[in-house]
Amino acid sequence: MTDVAIREPSSLRNKLLSVWENRWTTRLMPFVILLLIAFAFSLATGGRFLASRNLTIILNQALVVATVATGGTFIFATGNVNLAMGATTVLCETVSAMAFLAILDAGGSVELGLVVMFVISVILAVFIMGFSAILSTKLNVRVLYVTIVMMTLLAAIQQALLGGSTLTIPSKITRMLANNNVHYIIFGVFFAFAVVIFHFTKIGRTLRFIGTNEICAHQTGKFKKDYLLLAFVIGGLGMGLGAMVAIIRSGSVSITTLSSLNMDTMLAIVLGGMSVFGGSKSFVYAGVIGAVTVTALQNGMVMVGVDSNLIQGVRGLLFLLLVAAAQKRPHGLPAPEG
């Protein structure tokens, strides 16, 4: 008999379990968490937290991670973890900023410079991610280890390009972009595109199905090597655009720029309710919700007066508790990823 003995759940526990299990709970849990955090902080700060100016601040701060994480959800959906998302974004930021400044020095117009900067950033990110995917599928090295290599390689290339110096985009230009809400438009357009692809097309469904069971996906005609490349390319798009949002926000790039972006992005995706093993419980807005939650936490705790270095510890603790609470506790140990 191949069926394993199934415990007879008592009726109450069964009802609870079914509520916990049903489709909408898992999807809306991250929203509930975000609301509770907002509620708690507004209580503690007497409403200052929910002041409209502060909410726009939180949104601005979360935008870079949200863009990269939205791209990242495509990669995570296939059950793969990518450690090179931060390094890719920062390298694109560096190369495109260099190109922009070079055009400006050569007397080219600002508009031309911006367009070239934009295009280079996106193309380079898509190329790096595509190259990583092909490297993994063609030379069948595990995705995780390819990204470990890429992480260090890309950081080294950036250091070779920049050395200790810092590139700065004239603030007049970044301010002009910011005032025209270019960064919101970039994120908005990409997010809309991502939602459509992820939830309304065959690509999104296939990526999630590969994350659930790769062999079964293969037997229904969906090959990992094609869709992994697609997931990485869309992820790369998110990183190229994330680099632009970052430039608009900070206007400068150095070898220490966004050093914890990869960790923040993974934190955001998982906190947004996605499982690290991908599969059917993946949804594209996890990245955004997670990014806003992480930023709200940081902002709130500063307002409440928690010491900055303690905030990080609290963030780590909350991250663990929320992920443990959101998943059904496996009776064995979580499946290996290494």
């Binding site: 003995a5 049903n22 079964c216 229904t220 599969g279």
Partner: protein, 502 residues
């Protein structure tokens, strides 16, 4: 005859898995020095009662006595140490560690000498054990990954025999063994009987049971029908006890309608890395072609090769219009479907919902008007609802995860997945394995309806009854070749088929 001393006593045992009742008030006694056979169809409960005795799972109700003492083993390890050892059907060895380490897995502390585990002593004990059992072709320090399936099973047997179990339980192991592997197993069981210990031998292969066992207990649907002593074995009597129930309506097909001679799928002298060498096969429109044989005979590889899952060293698989099938995508584009033998790991996304599983074959069908990649949720919902209704899949909602379903319903989801896109050619590899009787009957009727609708089915099965009952034409394979081809019209019987299987 040695004095009749009772070794194991099972009293009024019940066991159910959710809705399916596996054991229904089972009681029996096992004496010393006896090779007792438990025989019955799939799902009859024979494996359940033995796995409870071996500590693999607890009974829902009822009690056991072993050597007169109450017996409720918490784990297989405990049972193994206290006299009941079991050899399971699935692989029980770990490939990356040596034979010795597999045999003493969990018992390494026995070789503790001061602070260290004496590896040499473990190796010596293993060599001594292997020689004692007359096993020569396996070295103690060899990693198990270097052994083939046969040798791995032999290692499992040796592991069990180390503890000199009072009762050795052998659960459906013979199907995985070649002839010499089986001879080895029979010698072990005979030795067990001669040392005044006993064996519980589980199989659904009647001839083997009659030859090896001193008595046969027949189980059907979780109830003991009766026990027959070796003296009065009579195959047809036992088989009727096994199948016995009046089959409501035609459990299998009772018609003899033929099939058109138009070839829809042709394997043209195909060769795969293992198993198949210059293998030919033709599947006709409206035909149910059955392939039978022992599990290592290569029939599963045929199924995989025809669907583009096995890389072909040579030869080609072609459809009626000549298109070559070299990967699953081309197969599916040409309306083929494949139900794998390992349902949970290969045919289903367990952690995904019923909706996602069934819809996975309809991405191109349920487009949101126009060629684009967009999918219409409404079309997709209907696509799935139709299958849930058609196959009457019992589930709270189609959004629940597949792993909350029973075995039978899971198989229905797999069938639904391939029927929904109206596949023309279906390759079914052991489609009814581990499925309760009710669902089996539904599947057989479904297969018959599809045949009448002109679809072609390749039925690969390890159950001869199923092949005989459903196939228009049966091929019996052994060592990668077709040894027998019989038409349904020539009157298929188990006797004729088994001769060519073994």
């Amino acid at each position: 005859m040695p004095t009749k001393e009772v070794l194991l006593e099972v009293q009024n045992m019940y066991k159910n898995f959710g809705a399916t009742v596996a054991l229904n008030n089972v009681s029996f006694t096992l004496n010393r020095g006896v090779v007792c056979g438990l025989i019955g169809e799939n799902g009859s409960g024979k494996s359940t009662v033995s796995s409870i005795a071996a500590g693999m799972q607890p009974p829902t109700k009822g009690s056991m006595k072993f050597k007169g003492e109450p017996w409720a083993p918490p784990s297989m390890l405990y049972a193994e140490k206290h006299g009941i050892g079991m050899i399971v059907q699935e692989a029980g060895t770990i490939p990356n560690i040596t034979v010795a380490e597999n045999i003493f897995l969990g018992h390494e502390a026995m070789f503790k000498q001061g602070p260290i585990i004496n590896r040499a002593k473990m190796m010596a004990a293993t060599r001594e054990l292997l020689e004692g059992l007359g096993i020569t072709n396996i070295q103690a320090d060899q990693p198990v990954r270097e052994l083939d399936m046969q040798q791995r099973k032999v290692v499992e047997i040796a592991k069990c025999m180390y503890w000199k179990p009072e009762i050795l339980i052998v659960d459906e192991t013979s199907t995985a063994l070649s002839q010499d592997g089986r001879e080895f197993l029979y010698s072990i069981m005979a030795a067990q009987r001669d040392n005044n210990r006993s064996v519980i031998f589980i199989s659904h292969d009647l001839d083997e049971m009659m030859e090896q066992c001193d008595e046969l207990t027949v189980l059907r649907d979780g109830v003991i029908i009766g026990t027959v002593q070796k003296a009065d074995y009579e195959p047809s009597l036992i088989r009727r006890m096994m199948i016995g129930r009046e089959i409501q309506g035609n459990y299998y097909r009772d018609d003899f309608d033929g099939y058109s001679d138009e070839v829809v799928l042709k394997a043209d002298c195909i060769t795969t890395m293992e198993d198949l060498l210059c293998f030919d096969l033709e599947l006709h429109k409206g035909e149910i072609l059955g392939i039978g044989g022992l599990s290592q005979c290569g029939m599963h590889t045929v199924g995989r090769a025809l669907f583009g899952l096995e890389k072909l060293v040579d030869g080609k698989v072609t459809l009626k219009d000549g298109t070559k099938i070299n990967n699953t995508r081309t197969a599916i584009k040409n309306r083929m479907g494949y139900v794998s033998k390992n349902r949970d790991t290969e045919s289903l996304g367990l952690s995904a919902s019923i909706m996602e599983n069934i819809a996975s074959t309809g991405y191109d069908i349920n487009r949101w008007h126009g060629p684009g990649p967009l999918i219409s949720n409404r079309k997709e919902k209907d696509y799935v609802d139709e299958q849930v209704k058609e196959l009457s899949i019992k589930c709270a909602s189609k959004y629940h995860n597949v792993n909350t379903l029973s075995g039978g319903n899971k198989q229905k989801v797999v069938f639904g997945k391939w029927i929904a896109p109206d596949s023309e050619i279906l390759i079914l590899d052991c489609p009814t394995r581990g499925v309760d009787v009710g669902v089996k009957a539904a599947m057989y009727q479904l297969m018959y309806r599809m045949k009448k609708a002109g679809k072609s089915i390749l039925l690969i099965s390890e159950e001869l009854q199923e092949l005989i009952g459903m196939s228009d034409r049966v091929l019996i394979m052994k060592d990668g070749e077709v040894r027998l081809e019989m038409m349904r019209t020539e009157g298929l019987t188990e006797q004729k088929l088994i001769e060519y299987m073994i």
